[in-house]
Amino acid sequence: MTDQSRVRVLSVEVEDGTNTLTKVSGLIRRKGFHVRAISVGPSRVPGRFRMTLAIDAGHAEVDQVRKQLERLVEVISVEDLTDDAVHNRELVVATVAASEVAGLIKRGAKVLGAGPEGTTIEFTGDAGEVGGFINELASHGIVDVVRSGPVVMRRTA
């Protein structure tokens, strides 16, 4: 089990370069950190990407994760959101038997499409809600399921 007090949630703005992901992941491995969750996408600024990372600091001081990332030239800024009030959203896409769909829609799922193998739905929520949703799916017989990493934004006041 991960000791949650060792995990930092960071929003990292990086350069869009061929070596950026390697540099970030290489640093994490080298320093004995461990990625618990990751998502990457373009940021508002052209040429820059936003990475959302949940990283276990291993045996280091937890703040080392931020400090070490800041040393990389490819990293433009690091925001530590661990102890802040945030919107933390994850996405799950699953294909389930058509008979199950009505109940899941009631929980907030949206239908993406249907076919002979089943109906494909999506659901978003925080990590707990998405985890709970997937657990429920499991008891109904899932055909397939994929889950994203988190995207996190600080709550406005």
Binding site: E61, Q64, K67
Partner: protein, 556 residues
Amino acid sequence: MVLEALEREGVEFIFGYPGGANLPIYQHLPKYKKLRHILVRHEQGAAHMADGYARACGKPGVVFATSGPGALNLVTGLCTAYMDSVPMIAITGQVVSTQLGRDAFQESDVIGATSSVTKHSYLVTKIEQLPRVIHEAFHIATTGRPGPVLIDICKDVQQAIAEPVIPEPIDLPGYQLNGHVHLSDARKAAEALAVAERPVILAGHGVLLSHAENQLLELAEKAAAPVGTTLLGIGAFPVNHPLALHMTGFMGTGWNLKAVQNSDLLMMVGMRVDDRVTAKLAEFAPKVKTFIHIDIDGSEMGKNVRPDIELVADAKQAIEAMLPHVGKLDEGRGKWLSQIDAWREEHPLRYTHSNGHLQPQDVLVDMYKRCRSEAVVVADVGQNQIWAALWWNYDKPGLFINSGGAGTMGFALPAAIGAKFGRPELPVWCVAGEGGFVMTAQELSVAVEHQLDIKIVLLNNFSLGMVRQFQDDFYGGVRSQVALTHMPDFVKLADAYGLPSRRVDSLAEVGPAMDEAERTKGPFLLDFHIDPEANVYPIVPLGKGLNDFWEHPEID
């Protein structure tokens, strides 16, 4: 275009080796008269030469290598420079950009292989990138906490013709030099230092890199605080000063370790506080109430020891910010300094002549007399390095060069060559064991070719001395693979390379041999056959705390 850019950056020397993937650069090299290229015999030698050059004169060292094995041979040298924060630019040839990823001849993922041992790296696949990349590389290598930067340039880019471009001003949003400076606690640090009862200052390589030696001396005298140095910090504080504690760490002086372990305030300046400094971390400086840490790299704060007061800045800037705030000193200070004097008396550096062999210290004491605090001394790694560090006697900040962080055997000879190119006006002494020496001995050719005035002091004990000592003391006395038999006759080896040399077996011959070496212009090799059982003392047994240091067992 590469060479033009290097001229623009003020490069004087390139240490390099040509090959298939950097031929276009070499084709144009003879036209660039301001760039002096030193042809090495192995790329690792080039990296260490550039390293020694940079450490000696402060300018970034420049290295050329070809793709694949050429570039990979640089890895150890890059790591050595990276661990010790030495500015370096490595320019490697890469296969044609359209061949990347196809396992072309002599292709290797140089960026991937060197990412963890460089401060930054670039793969250049388009000519337009080149002026900006080279300009940025020099900026990154030489500013903040210095380090090596690698530029991997595809062969087609080297061949491309483009209008020379004056690089635009540097815009690196992810490289903010002053963004992390934190000096607001300078006053607090100065006050804590003044009121501490038993303060100790430790100085590392950062003090030398920022040329803060005078500021450190002023602070130490103002605060009447004793100063020790790390292995890489040697030269940051005059070792004969009444406040000097000399070298700290697990092979540091007894009086230094006593002071560190009994201090109530420890101020660590420009250092990483690594395991060689702390020994067993849980037992490091147990009586300290206030740790002050000064470093230019904020990630050093709390990486190994959690400071109570942290100043993130260049050492000179930080000490200057503290100086005006050192107020009235604690009344117990005189007592603390007398206690340290007593420890200095009690635990001096000593050695014996009990077995009739030539002792390494005999050689080094004689050598340092001749250095007169003015020569560059480059040490290799192992016992020779620690002896050279401990018997260092400079009365002013000086140049002691060695591979501290990486501990790279074979560093000394090429680094001494680089140092001589960097500081041609100074004598250069190269201290090495025979084990490390043969790892890069091929670079003797370079010393001979350029008739470099380097005196090589080989402390030849017919074994891997440090490993042998560790096996004797900490690994059950089992001597395993440490006897270096079938080594060359070093006098004949020197002759084969074309440099004069002399073998020395006894104390009486040391002086005359050194005289001959000093009289001889150009390189000279001295093969000192020293006591094969000579050990480094003091030493803290592996895994123990600094309190548990051992002194020379034959002296009580």
